[in-house]
């Protein structure tokens, strides 16, 4: 914030006074300060009181007639309406149901755009099957219409980045669905390294041409990273390796700093991913996992979380055996999971996690489990539960306002708040 001499500020406040020639500069400076102050007040610093017939805090039982106070972009207070005094000057919003902002746990939105032409499809580079050095932040279009689209259905946090299709396609990141630049949207520039096992990779590359070859290539790369890490620790600085962007990322994976997200739909791929995890000891997130229902015990035993394919994924190719009940099965087995919008090469250019969760609820997943998977569970899985995923004092003020049951397709999202800013106000 710029500093302003008190005299200038006083002058600005009484700007009806005749401006003399020698004071003009001072005058302008004061006005720009006031303008900046008012902009801050109107957006980020807005203070809100959100009252809901049913408030799902996701940090305890739902509160009937609950209130959330929002101050300076953070949650100030949460509780039953009778226990909370709404301070003066707070804008009051009302809704039938309020939940924390929804988390789309795996997407390509922002890298992949609405038009589906080369110029807006940056989720996969096919020049090399292994490219952990590709950063998501270098390819994210914060103004992509699909970002606004998913936001209008309650998504406030996106885990997006390089998509499935390469042995290692690149990095993923975490953003809020607002901001006009990636910098303004960013939560974490590196969330995971994205890998894919299975026939999907063979569609984009001459080699690997088989599943076994892809796994051999991945193992070789991780061994290379282990060697790179050893050399980095060499006492003789002259013998340390030249900086290698890809190797640096994989060392971070081997060190457990960031997870390896492995897209694996069918049983052989799921089991291969678990085997790789045992061999190299990295933090594994299973992605897709269409046939997870066939190996629940194995996944449970490995203690690996799942970002489940969109419930309404088309039953063809690797997901031919997908069922609408896998979310319910994962929940019953006690395996942590989250919902994702996934990736389609044609349409829809994005799915909406709210709808994918609704379909899972209609097929046996308890409602609360679905809300958890959309919020706090997804936040934990992605390591951001300190900031988002539930409505608790001190957390980001990310909220969704519904005019009814969130899992009814006829219910509308009538408000989306991100860090205290009302980014979506019409009912959709």
């Amino acid at each position: 914030m710029q500093s302003v001499e008190p005299a200038c500020l006083t002058m600005a406040m009484f700007s009806f006074m005749k401006v003399t020639e020698n004071k003009r500069w001072c005058h302008m400076k004061a006005w720009s300060f006031l303008l900046a102050l008012s902009l801050l007040a109107s957006s980020v610093q807005a203070q809100l009181a959100v009252r809901a017939d049913t408030l799902y805090t996701m940090a305890g039982a739902p509160i009937e007639n609950g209130v959330v106070l929002v101050r300076n972009g953070k949650i100030e207070q949460v509780g039953a309406a009778q226990t909370i005094r709404i301070p003066e000057g707070y804008r009051v919003l009302e809704a039938s149901v309020v939940t924390p902002g929804l988390i789309d746990a795996h997407s390509v939105v922002g890298l992949a755009g609405i038009l589906n032409y080369n110029h807006d499809q940056d989720q996969l580079d096919t020049s090399d099957p292994i490219q952990p050095e590709l950063r998501a932040i270098d390819a994210y279009n914060a103004r992509e219409k699909l970002v606004e689209w998913v936001r209008s259905f309650g998504v406030t946090t996106l885990h997006t980045g390089h998509g499935p299709g390469a042995v290692i396609s690149g990095q993923t990141m975490l953003v809020k669905t607002r901001g006009e630049t990636v910098e303004a949207a960013l939560i974490d520039s590196v969330a995971a390294v994205a890998a894919t096992l299975g026939p999907m990779v063979e569609r984009y590359f001459r080699s690997p041409g088989t599943r076994a070859k892809a796994i051999a290539m991945l193992r070789a790369e991780l061994l290379k990273a282990q060697a790179y890490r050893r050399k980095l620790q060499d006492a003789d600085s002259a013998r340390r390796p030249e900086p290698d962007l890809g190797m640096e990322m994989l060392v971070r994976v081997l060190d457990g700093q960031i997870p390896l997200l492995i897209t694996a739909q069918q049983v052989p791929e799921i089991m291969a991913a678990l085997r790789l995890q045992r061999e190299f000891g990295f933090r594994l997130i299973l992605d897709g996992a269409a046939e997870a229902y066939l190996v629940l015990d194995e996944i449970k035993q490995a203690g690996v979380p799942v970002i489940l394919h969109p419930t309404m994924v088309r039953p063809r190719g690797e997901t031919v055996n997908a069922t609408l009940e896998t979310a319910a099965r994962l929940h019953e087995a006690g395996i942590p999971f989250a919902f994702q919008s996934g990736f389609e090469s044609y349409v829809p250019k994005t799915r909406v996690v709210l709808f994918e969760a609704a379909m899972a609820v209609a097929n046996g997943l308890p409602r609360m489990a679905a809300l958890e998977a959309l919020t706090i569970q997804a936040a934990r899985l992605l390591g951001i539960d300190g900031r988002v995923g539930s409505l608790e004092p001190g957390k980001d003020a990310d909220l969704v306002l519904f005019d009814g049951d969130p899992f009814e397709y006829t219910t509308h999202v009538c408000g989306v708040i991100i860090e205290g800013e009302l980014v979506h106000e019409t009912c959709r």
Binding site: M312, T323, M359, Y409
Partner: protein, 429 residues
């Protein structure tokens, strides 16, 4: 031998139309579509037809009837999907941009798992068509999803050799564009189509001049015959179109040649709803989870149904399976309601409106006496996301029952249920 054949022919309708004994479904909330819902209703079915519909107490229940207690359930007409690609359907090849003679009924596998998948979604009638990569990719076929293992058992027409069994698939915009013989521009596409219809008009003149004289009759031409059926208003054109100006091009072609047309997808309908209404052309729309996929569909809106309803256009909704899945066809109506369409019109868009667009409204689309006994039993409100299709009935025969594990798997999926090589065979055939 002749006697036996005759007996067999007499017997076929009995097999097809199933039960002799009347069936009574009582206690359910009925959505007749042609009338307001009936809270506790009675539906009486016999010989594959609806015999009576009304509130409990107002409908006499035949003594010999089998009575099903449907208390707590909802019964509505079988769903009509005006645009689908189930059954591994094929149309014309890449040798030409227009294939009026190509019949999709010659290339549909009715045993394919996608057909039973459609039944599990409550669909009882489907307009199966080839793709939009051509200006005219072939003849569509109207299928009734009876139990059956041959296409003949599922046709609406009685004899594909003498009757019209569907519509005609056409398309404009970017999908049919390509290297010759495909058009490179929109104007070229329109010119090619106009030239083709002019050729059909010339063929008709030759037929008229021959006045039935075999000597003067032109050689039979399958392409021309199909186009004449269109020009005579006996075969409906199902026209794939997205952008507002492409929509207007279809209306212009209709004005020039006078054919009957249904606009399909109609992504930018919200921009030209009044023009569509003025032309009196119905729309079969799609509801997608997100806009885009290509430039001409970037501005598709969930509000299309509402905008067209407001303008007074007859609106149906389709799956375009597997663009959207037949299993959640009801969901499309719920999303249309979310975006402002009235619940009544949204449910009509899955049933009676589609029947009108296929010229089948005298047989299907509503629960009315005399119509085919095609209906679905739902666990609750048709527009609720929690509702399941529990049973699908076609002409008085149950073709899907969610309580049967063999059927249920088509609704929820699982190992080996769906596969490109998978063939669905009805037991007993």
């Amino acid at each position: 031998m002749r006697i036996r054949l005759t007996l067999l022919i007499v017997f076929i309708p009995l097999v097809l139309y199933g039960q002799e004994q009347p069936l009574v479904f009582r206690g359910a909330q009925l959505y007749p579509i042609s009338r307001p819902p009936i809270e506790r209703g009675v539906l009486v079915v016999q010989h594959g037809k609806i015999v009576a519909v009304g509130p409990e107490g107002s409908v006499s229940i035949p003594k010999e009837a089998i009575v099903y207690d449907m208390t707590g359930k909802v019964i509505m007409p079988g769903l009509i999907d005006t645009h689908s690609h189930i059954g591994r359907v094929e149309g014309g090849d890449r040798s030409a941009s227009m294939h009026p003679a190509v019949r999709t009924l010659d290339a549909i596998d009715v045993r394919h798992s996608s057909v039973q998948r459609a039944r599990s979604g409550g669909i009882t009638t489907v307009n199966v068509m080839s793709g939009s990569g051509h200006l005219l990719s072939g003849q569509t076929v109207y299928l009734k999803l009876r139990k059956g293992n041959t296409i003949e058992e599922l046709l609406y027409c009685r004899d594909p050799l003498t009757e019209i069994c569907g519509g005609l698939k056409m398309a404009n915009g970017t999908n049919p564009q390509g290297d010759p013989p495909f058009p490179g521009t929109r104007a070229k596409a329109a010119a090619l189509v106009r030239q083709q219809f002019l050729k059909a008009l010339a063929y008709r003149r030759k037929l008229e001049q021959a006045k039935g004289d075999p000597e003067k009759m032109p050689e039979r031409d399958l392409d021309m015959e199909a186009l004449l059926e269109v020009l005579d208003g006996r075969r409906i054109v199902h026209f794939h179109t997205h952008r507002h100006d492409d929509i207007l091009t279809v209306l212009r072609l209709k004005r020039e040649f006078g054919f009957r047309v249904v606009l399909h997808h109609v992504s930018e309908a919200w921009k030209v709803a009044d023009e569509i209404a003025a032309a009196g052309v119905p729309c079969s729309i799609i509801i997608l989870d997100a806009p885009g996929g290509k430039l001409e569909a970037a501005e598709i809106r969930m509000e299309n149904g509402a905008a067209l309803e407001k303008a007074g256009v007859d609106v149906a909704i389709h799956t375009d399976d597997l663009i959207t899945d037949s299993r959640w066809f009801l969901r499309a109506a719920a999303l249309a309601v979310r975006a402002g369409m009235s619940p009544e019109k949204a449910l009509e868009a899955l049933t009676l409106a589609g029947a009108r667009m296929l010229d089948l409204a005298d047989r299907i689309g509503s629960l009315d006496p005399g119509k085919d006994a095609d209906f679905i039993v739902l666990s609750g409100n048709p527009l609720s996301g929690y509702t399941h299709v529990e049973q699908t009935w076609v002409e008085g025969q149950k073709v899907f029952d969610r309580s049967d594990p063999e059927d249920r798997k088509y609704a929820v999926g699982g190992t080996g249920v769906f596969d490109d090589g998978d063939v669905f065979v009805h037991e007993g055939h």
